[in-house]
């Protein structure tokens, strides 16, 4: 009996491999890469609970438990970095999330095909600009005396005459968020434009017969059509609440705005890599990952219960 089973299993295994070995060969490079650069570092997370030992690597140092987490939670920078990260993410979502939706609805309403194409092509361009270039453009355009954009805002009375926008703490978040909108609004609108273009034209005809004007059509036909897309993208955005893009914040940091621009990821870089406090850096990084993961799980759970769609 047992023998029979073993034989069966062996036969099945053999069959599986003759059928699928080529697929495994094709998967091998990708899996190997992910193993080395994603799973090995995950194993290295234990560094956050150990004293770093140069010769022994990940596992050799003495176990110190939560020492480094305590050190982070008790440091003055814990509150600052956590708050800064949340504030930047919060405004990025509040301002940055609706912007592409509004843009897509505007583009969708343009009647002149040529102009529509021109607008679409133009709004995609900033997405291709690198963060380094974007930040230097910000520095040029908002430079204290000669910056064109800064002067324009002053002319409109939105900013007081003698402010140094780049050095002002209260200007950092708006600058970060609005330039982010400038860069990615067009790109992010593509998906909504595509969703809008697939709305059933019979709905528009029905609307016309009912005597609805274009505003009403937009609110009652176009908007409901993209609500499912909006929900899914919102969940995905919420799960990334603590993943503030490192590059842009790091490059926009200067000595004047550090109080509002030091976020968790830049802090991890400066203590973990630059000053080689490996265990402490690993602990702060792990805290960030865990908070994100919890957020993702919670939003996913809420959305599954309320809308039936979720990621996992």
């Amino acid at each position: 009996m047992k023998r029979e089973e073993e034989k069966n299993l062996m036969l099945r295994t053999k069959k599986y491999w003759t059928k699928n070995w080529q697929l495994w060969v094709m998967l091998f490079p990708a899996m190997l890469y992910i193993f080395i650069f994603c799973y090995v570092p995950m194993y290295g997370i234990q560094l956050a609970f150990r004293e770093y030992n140069f010769s022994a690597g990940f596992t050799g140092g003495d176990w110190v438990g939560l020492k480094y987490f305590k050190q982070y939670f008790e440091s003055a920078l814990f509150g600052t970095t956590l708050r800064n990260t949340f504030v930047i993410s919060f405004w990025s979502i509040v301002i940055g999330f609706p912007a592409p939706i509004i843009l897509a609805m505007i583009i969708n309403q343009l009647k002149n095909k040529r102009w529509k194409k021109v607008v679409q092509t133009t709004v995609y361009i900033p997405y291709f600009i690198s963060v380094v270039v974007l930040v230097s453009m910000i520095n040029i355009l908002f430079k204290s005396e000669s910056g064109v954009a800064g002067n324009f805002l002053k002319m409109l009375g939105l900013v007081a005459q003698d402010t140094n926008i780049l050095g002002k703490e209260s200007a950092f978040v708006p600058l970060y968020v609005l330039t982010g909108v400038w860069q990615s609004m067009g790109w992010n609108s593509i998906i909504y434009i595509a969703a809008l273009s697939s709305v059933d034209s019979q709905l528009y005809d029905a609307c016309k017969i009912d005597g609805a004007n274009r505003w009403q059509t937009m609110i009652h036909i176009d908007f409901p059509a993209i609500v499912p897309t909006i929900v899914i993208l919102l969940i995905m955005n919420m799960g990334n609440i603590l993943n503030v893009g490192f590059d842009k914040v790091y490059l926009m940091q200067n000595s004047l705005n550090l109080g509002v621009s030091q976020v968790i990821s830049t802090y991890v870089y400066s203590v973990g890599v630059k000053s080689s406090q490996f265990s402490f850096g690993a602990a702060v990084g792990l805290f960030n990952t865990v908070v994100n993961f919890v957020f993702l799980v919670i939003t996913n759970w809420i959305s599954k219960r309320s809308t039936g769609t979720g990621l996992m």
Binding site: Q22, L27, G285
Partner: protein
């Protein structure tokens, strides 16, 4: 397509001249013009500033058209060896990196698209899990360090060999756009996975391949983080790191070149900055018209299973 056509034709037939609609149309048009200008003006400003007299730019006199045209900034760049080295490095990283990306992503995407591959969901989880959980910067840095890859050209090529999101896009495309009947027919003809992949899947995946090449190439071109963290050898610096030195750290000239005194030097620095922005951004924008038609498709495929 048919739906779109119907929509416009019926709209033309029953053209309404209702006042509310006219106001609405005008408002939409004005808004679109404002957005268009907000997006375009900063780009336009950099272009005109790069070829204008930078003293005039600094006085705020250059706003819509270039004034006192000169190409000083571009001339300086031609002589700056760092920029050329950065360029050469970046081109290497873009070409080699993107080639590696595609060579790793496409076969894996094919394998994961096979419906009768019984282990595929487990393997998919192996990939997707890394999208939501990671070791973090420090353990990753130490892994790279223990492999001896810090400050080598290799790490800048292989660091992101595969992006899980792009893998999902490719897999979804292969799964949905290439009919299963083709595979069945090929198997009857004695076709293996390898030959089916090369002879059928690759030629039929041009749309998704162009989208992914664009995504990966733009990523490598603009990648700043990898070089910042994992490379400290100036000889390997990609363009973005050089740009940061010039644009943000104000090391506009290599020692010796920019030793002119006073305001002139500052003006020259600014003009070099504008020119650098243009020289570094134009190449990637040149790729754009060729792949633009695939954008929507790519984004839509990705959206199906985000």
């Amino acid at each position: 397509m048919a739906a779109k056509f119907n929509n416009t034709s019926s709209g033309e037939v029953k053209r309404s001249f209702n006042l509310a609609d006219r106001i609405f149309g005008a408002a939409v048009l004005i808004l679109s013009i404002i957005i268009f200008l907000i997006i375009l003006y900063p780009l336009w400003f950099v272009i005109i500033a790069s070829i204008s007299n930078s003293n005039l730019v600094n006085l705020g006199l250059v706003t819509f058209w270039p004034k006192d045209i000169r190409f000083y900034g571009f001339q300086q760049i031609l002589e700056d060896e760092r920029i050329w080295r950065g360029y050469a490095n970046t081109i290497l990283y873009v070409v080699a990196g993107t080639a590696l990306n595609m060579a790793v992503t496409m076969p894996a995407a094919y394998a994961l698209s096979r419906r009768n591959f019984s282990t595929r969901n487990k393997i998919m989880f192996y990939f997707v899990f890394t999208m939501f959980f990671s070791g973090g910067l420090v353990p990753t840095y130490m892994t790279v360090s223990s492999l001896g890859l810090i400050s080598t050209k290799w790490i800048l090529i292989i660091f992101v060999a595969i992006n899980t999101y792009n893998l999902i896009i490719a897999r979804t495309f292969i799964e949905n756009s290439i009919p299963e009947e083709l595979y069945e027919a090929a198997v009857l003809d004695g076709c293996s996975h390898f030959s089916y992949f090369f002879k059928v899947v690759i030629p039929l995946s041009k749309a998704v391949i162009s989208v992914l090449v664009l995504y990966y190439a733009v990523y490598h071109w603009n990648d700043f983080f990898t070089a910042l963290v994992y490379n400290s050898n100036q000889k390997n610096s990609p363009l973005q790191i050089v740009l940061r030195e010039i644009l943000l750290l104000n090391q506009a000239f290599q020692s010796g070149v920019g030793s002119v005194q006073g305001g002139y030097a500052q003006g020259a620095v600014d003009q070099v900055k504008y020119a650098v922005i243009i020289v570094s951004t134009v190449p990637i924008l040149c790729l754009y018209p060729f792949v633009q038609k695939y954008f929507e498709k790519g984004v839509m495929i990705g959206a199906v299973k985000g």
